[in-house]
Symmetry: C2
Subunit: 450 residues, 2 copies
């Protein structure tokens, strides 16, 4: 399987079977998305009822196309899919994505139909993604073979999802966030190309730095664990497992036709395989951006704040997460005490509260001194918006320190607000994560130490 | 104490001692904020070194002012505070806020200074808020006696915080959120006016619908519990308790001089008093807006989604939170089956997955039918952004249903994204909460049932 997937994620030519311009349809979403990458590869529209789409001719059938096709994308009613797949197989396409729903996730007739198409493709050794999926996106090469609402930004996160709808929401949200994607793959029923295949694919993909997965169930536990164990030693893997409860499992089994096992079994398997288990969608991406942008570090954290309360909340969470907070060394305390930047009432300890009137110079002195201490491997910098707080300038100091100490992890906590949102955006463009809540920041700091 | 606090939150005249226009100073922040409410009350600037501020004369001392003063706000260096407070007492002001830091939170000299001013005011029966605090805001009457960065929106949440810095961040964030405040009070060291006094104040305040508290420590446990038990039967109280861990407690004790007790004791006391205990700042306001905008309900939840994955995540969390998900009654199923809005493959159960191509009419049919079932008391409506999803129109359907079923709680889950953020803002302006993650939505749904 490994090598055969290259035509799936790097196609020089794509045929869309079921292409249409009917507004609001899956087929027209695919047309628009594929069209956005038309300078990168050849596109062919297949629809027996239309003459042209986007000013290009359409074909009655894929068999009419004379040039070789690397990837066939199928978006026709379920009943027609077996015939269309048969034609794609005859055409000897490199790989197939079946977007259409109406297979094993519905009823026994659907399951039979699914078996039929898999038999066809497997006999010919053609990998098939889906059916019942959103499709595949690879932003770095402008490949969008999906009906997602728009093109998400390019970045280092590979997101693999059983659910296509969930992937759509993730894409919509990414338009407001500062992380981006190397790959987005919805595998739906996973009839042929499986999560394990996609794990290996993401592992080989050089743009992928972190693998984030939304998972409802798994049919190939042992293969998954072996792959995850090997790959997670090179690239972090984070999984959001849905269907943890019995009721949730029942809901899951009705929509992607996968068997869900006990949550304890899954959690134990994840742990043994070095996989991070996120507890919400927000956490999945909180962690993904930290793992993409920051180095993995040893356990040893300092907290810097201009607001005592936020420092206390962060400290509580550090303890909960098993993060060690080393005491400030004599050298560190001396250096801080010698500076004339700090207010008289400052107490030099970890967490370090530099008080509400902290200006940028005080932040700089504190950040640089704390990072000089050898057992401080990560630093959480908290800013509450006070009169003296220049968030943009403080963010620049954080970014400079991150450049100077590339092996340490700097994490920012600043609530997005009217006065802070520009600075937050700027910081994340420098690939330093910001979190809107100390709890979220410290949970992200923890995964860097594992 | 109860009646004396009226001059604090409803002053007809305010004197600011330490008024200045020096940019970036606490005093100038106070000038600007008080000035924004100048049409509502008389303002007097006190500063012996200046002739005028904002084109108005300044006074050398509060004793120079001939008119009565309801509220004196003090923002001068700690060393000068006792003298200034003595003068305010001689002037017979109604109440005093000491913004200045440098008291019990620092050292024994500071504690002595704090005792000194409290002795002065208590002898005269004048309530004193602070010292070491951000001040007080009451948006509905345009009172801003604080150095907060701007005026937060008006609404039904009273936020009481030991930490002023934290309050500033909350205010900054509120500029991007859709909830608003009836009161914001930072009580700092709580030397005289205590959390318990402020609880009663918020209880009597007619604009206040929900009381949200950030707390580090408490000196008057029994009084607090008695007050909380009584008040929480009328208005929900949510507390974010910091200093849960030993390290967190130590960090807390150094900045507000309050004694922190064991977390178990606090949590037990909260539970007995009917207080909701939030685990993060985000959760504090997630819950506050739900409790302000929605009715309290019996346990019985339906989940509606156009994306199976989000439905599964929500169902897991409902189970975790002890929320009951009744099965769809025969009447409900019949009604849904009779409608021609639903796709053939729809399975009519709770959670109800109306599939990715759900349009607004399908959402409407599902919402109205589910709410007609008598044991469905709350409904979580999930939208993932698909081609057919018209988020704005769906939000309008949700708002209409909320009007028709005012005793049921409707909660929206829609990830803020490029295509969804306008609809989310509109919905929340109708006082229906939206959450960006099913986990957060279901945790908020839970507090409505208690």
């Amino acid at each position: 399987m490994k090598n055969k997937l290259s035509s799936l994620i790097n196609p020089r030519s794509v045929a869309l079977i079921g292409a249409t311009e009917r507004s609001g349809s899956v087929g027209s979403g695919l047309v628009e998305n594929l069209w956005s990458g038309r300078h990168k590869r050849k596109l062919f529209w297949v629809n027996p009822n239309l003459k042209e789409i986007k000013g290009e001719r359409t074909y009655h059938s894929i068999l009419e196309i004379t040039e070789p096709i690397d990837l066939a994308v199928v978006a026709v009613p379920a009943e027609v899919v077996p015939q269309v797949v048969q034609e794609a197989v005859s055409k000897k396409v490199g790989s197939i994505i079946v977007i259409s729903a109406g297979f094993a996730e519905t009823d026994s007739a659907g399951r039979q139909r699914q078996d039929e198409i898999v038999n066809l493709t497997r006999r010919s050794g053609i990998p098939l993604l889906g059916p019942n999926c959103l499709g595949l996106l690879r932003p770095p090469i402008e490949l969008n073979a999906s009906f997602a609402p728009f093109n998400p930004p390019s970045g280092g996160i590979a997101f693999i999802s059983q659910s296509g709808a969930l992937m759509n929401s993730v894409i919509d949200r990414s338009g407001l966030e500062n992380y981006g994607f190397s790959l987005l793959i919805s595998y739906g029923n996973g009839a042929d190309v499986s999560l394990v295949d996609l794990l290996w694919l993401a592992d080989r993909d050089q743009s992928t730095k972190v693998i984030a997965i939304y998972l409802e169930g798994l049919d190939e536990g042992r293969e998954f664990m072996e792959a995850a164990r090997e790959i997670s030693s090179r690239k972090p893997i984070i999984i959001l497992k849905a269907g943890r409860t019995e009721l949730g499992q029942r809901a899951a089994s009705s929509h992607t036709a996968s068997l869900a096992g006990s949550d304890q079994v899954y959690q134990a398997a994840f742990k043994q395989s070095g996989v991070f288990s996120a507890s919400s969608l927000e956490e999945l991406f909180d962690w993904a951006k930290a793992l993409e942008w920051l180095p993995r570090i040893e356990n040893g954290l300092a907290i810097l704040t201009n607001g005592g309360g936020m420092g206390v909340l962060a400290t509580d969470q550090a303890v909960d997460q098993g993060l060690l907070m080393p005491e400030l060394s004599e050298a560190t305390r001396n250096r801080l005490q010698k500076s004339d930047s700090f207010a008289e009432e400052t107490i030099f300890k970890n967490p370090l509260d530099i008080i509400g009137d902290a200006d940028t110079e005080r932040y700089r002195q504190a950040i640089e001194t704390l990072l000089t201490q050898s057992d401080v491997h990560s630093l959480v910098v908290i800013q509450t918006k006070q009169t003296m707080t220049n968030i943009q300038e403080n963010m620049e100091v954080i970014a400079q320190a991150a450049q100077r100490w590339p092996k340490k992890a700097l994490i920012s906590v600043c609530l997005p607000g009217r006065l802070s949102q520009m600075g937050i955006k700027w910081l994340e463009e420098q690939r330093i994560p910001n979190y809107s809540d100390p709890v979220r920041a410290l949970r992200a700091a923890r995964v860097l130490t594992n």
